[in-house]
């Protein structure tokens, strides 16, 4: 049984880490970008960002004033048991979100869409989002928080098989250029692309591709991995850099995730996880151990499974 107090305390620590500490994989990617950048203004911007990450850690202050919309991804091993059950878990995550908003402090971004009511704590109807995943085996729970900005850099389009790779490229470039101008997408970014699923799952896949895969990761399908590399290069050949200034770096990594879709369609979403690519992860065990990391490790072979049954599942065991 995993202690609910430990879950809440860990969740508070994760909120603080996500807001303040740029993940190492993104930092390494941006440092590499800064070395290749030769546009005067875009170089200045990347250097300023690198200084900013240092300042944030030294002062323990949020790296960006827009601390995004905090959300939670929860993954559980099949044998995980939580003290108080799922309702207690959700309460703990909502309390941690509210408490960290005051303690860090974060910007209380979340308001009612019509009445603009602000509880000043990033909690409200449907906020923070809590999404779930499961893995075969294991008594642990993974808490992942992502603080992503919410206004620009993301788009969806219904494409068809006849649009082909040429159509996918077109929408990819359109999204990068549209939101890259004036730096609205806060690039260079981790670009996540969702392909397939249905409209809602396509958006979810693309967002997870951007937020839950680290820089340097590749899709296990070698042909998709080749597309990821090609798209990164394509994005970086636009001639645009940070803030939409002339430059060479729009894309730090391009992550593509796919889901089976309607036979007539080819849904596509594009998401940009920005210069403040904020995520923090911890695995909690029933014996009280807590392991912190920055790789969500969300897209396991189980999450991407294609078959009816999973080897070793309870159904198969029964047979």
């Amino acid at each position: 049984m995993i202690s609910i107090d430990l879950i809440q305390n860990t969740a508070e620590a994760l909120m603080d880490k996500a807001a303040i500490e740029i993940p190492e994989d993104y930092l390494t990617g941006l440092q590499a970008a800064a070395e290749t950048e030769d546009g005067n203004l875009s170089s200045f911007v990347l250097q300023a960002m690198l200084e900013n990450y240092k300042a944030a850690k030294e002062d323990r202050r949020a790296m960006c004033g827009d601390t995004g919309c905090p959300r939670w991804y929860v993954k559980m091993g099949n044998e995980a048991r939580i003290e108080g059950g799922p309702v207690a878990l959700e309460s703990a995550l909502r309390r941690a979100t509210a408490k960290a908003t005051y303690d860090v402090p974060l910007r209380p971004n979340r308001v009612h869409p019509l009445w603009r009511t602000d509880h000043n704590n990033n909690v409200g109807i449907g906020a923070p989002e809590i999404e779930y995943g499961y893995e075969p085996g294991g008594e642990w729970i993974d808490l992942i928080t992502v603080h992503k900005g919410g206004l620009f850099g993301t788009d969806y389009r219904m494409l068809f098989p006849s649009d082909g790779i040429e159509g996918i490229k077109r929408f990819y470039l359109d999204s990068l250029v549209a939101f890259g101008k004036r730096g609205l997408a806060c690039q260079p970014a981790i670009i996540g692309i969702g392909l397939g699923g249905s409209k809602d799952t396509c958006m979810v896949l693309g967002k997870r591709a951007a937020c839950l895969r680290v820089v340097g990761s590749e899709n296990p399908d070698p042909k998709i991995a080749a597309l990821e590399r090609e798209f990164k290069e394509l994005g970086n050949s636009i001639g645009m850099g940070a803030m939409g200034f002339v430059g060479k770096n729009m894309v730090i990594n391009c992550n593509i995730e796919v889901g089976y879709c309607h036979t007539g369609g080819m849904q596509m979403s594009v998401h940009a996880f920005c210069l403040s690519s904020r995520r923090a992860v911890a695995r909690i065990y029933p014996d009280g151990r807590v392991e912190h990391r920055t790789d969500p490790d969300w897209f396991t072979s189980y999450q991407r499974r294609e078959t009816v049954d999973w080897p070793g599942s309870a159904q198969e065991a029964a047979e």
Partner: protein
């Protein structure tokens, strides 16, 4: 590669100091600035509430910003990071706001169009400063000397409230428009546009179009 010029600027700048600024200069600010975005604009301009500051004598610097900040139980402030929000959405209110408050520095994300600059920035002797990144929230946070006050937080919430901040070498900011109404972002867009046709080679427009992006009601989503 040349490094941009760095300049210290007052938040109540003289016309001469503003005339000195060139597109792409890096600016650090000293003095009082206030945050105002849609909440403050609506309350001051549409609801006609009295602005709780003497403008522009106290400050001529309007920051399109919501800080990452909290008010402690004793009424003191904890402000960590500050960064800007995209300014183009505020074009609806800015001409009236500038006329009413004498703002000379509009500070935000992404700038405005040169049409905006020429139609109401230039006549008011104002320029636009862009934050950097975006966003260097921690660096800008270091430039906060003191949070002087917060107004209208009951009515608007912490994110939309009018925060009054005393800054000491707060920056970096980039000069994104000048007193002639030239626009840094449009200059950069034009340079990048020259290359775009080549980048788009080997792509094709989507079969299913979007309806409603123009006012032509005879549009269809096919064809």
């Amino acid at each position: 590669m040349s490094k941009p010029r760095e300049i210290r600027l007052s938040t109540t700048p003289t016309p001469e100091a503003l005339a000195e600024l060139r597109l792409g200069d890096i600016v650090y600010l000293d003095g009082l600035l206030y945050t105002a975005r849609e909440g403050v604009y609506m309350r001051a301009l549409e609801d006609k509430a009295n602005i709780p500051l003497e403008l522009p004598s106290q400050s001529a610097a309007n920051f399109h910003c919501s800080p990452a900040a909290a008010i402690r139980p004793d009424g003191s402030f904890n402000m960590g990071a500050v960064t800007a929000t995209a300014s183009f959405r505020f074009a609806k209110w800015l001409p009236e706001w500038m006329a009413k408050t004498g703002a000379k520095l509009i500070i935000g994300k992404g700038g405005m169009s040169s049409k905006d600059y020429k139609s109401y920035f230039v006549p008011n002797g104002a320029i636009y400063l862009s934050t950097v990144g975006y966003g260097t929230g921690a660096l800008l946070g270091r430039g906060i000397e003191k949070v002087e006050a917060v107004h209208w937080q009951e009515e608007l919430g912490l994110a939309q409230a009018m925060w009054v901040i005393r800054c000491n070498k707060m920056g970096p900011f980039i000069v994104a428009s000048d007193l002639e109404g030239n626009c840094l972002f449009e200059r950069e867009n034009a340079k990048i546009a020259e290359n775009l046709a080549r980048v788009y080679e080997g792509t094709r427009p989507a079969t299913l179009k979007r309806y409603g992006e123009t006012d032509d009601r005879s549009d269809e989503v096919i064809g």
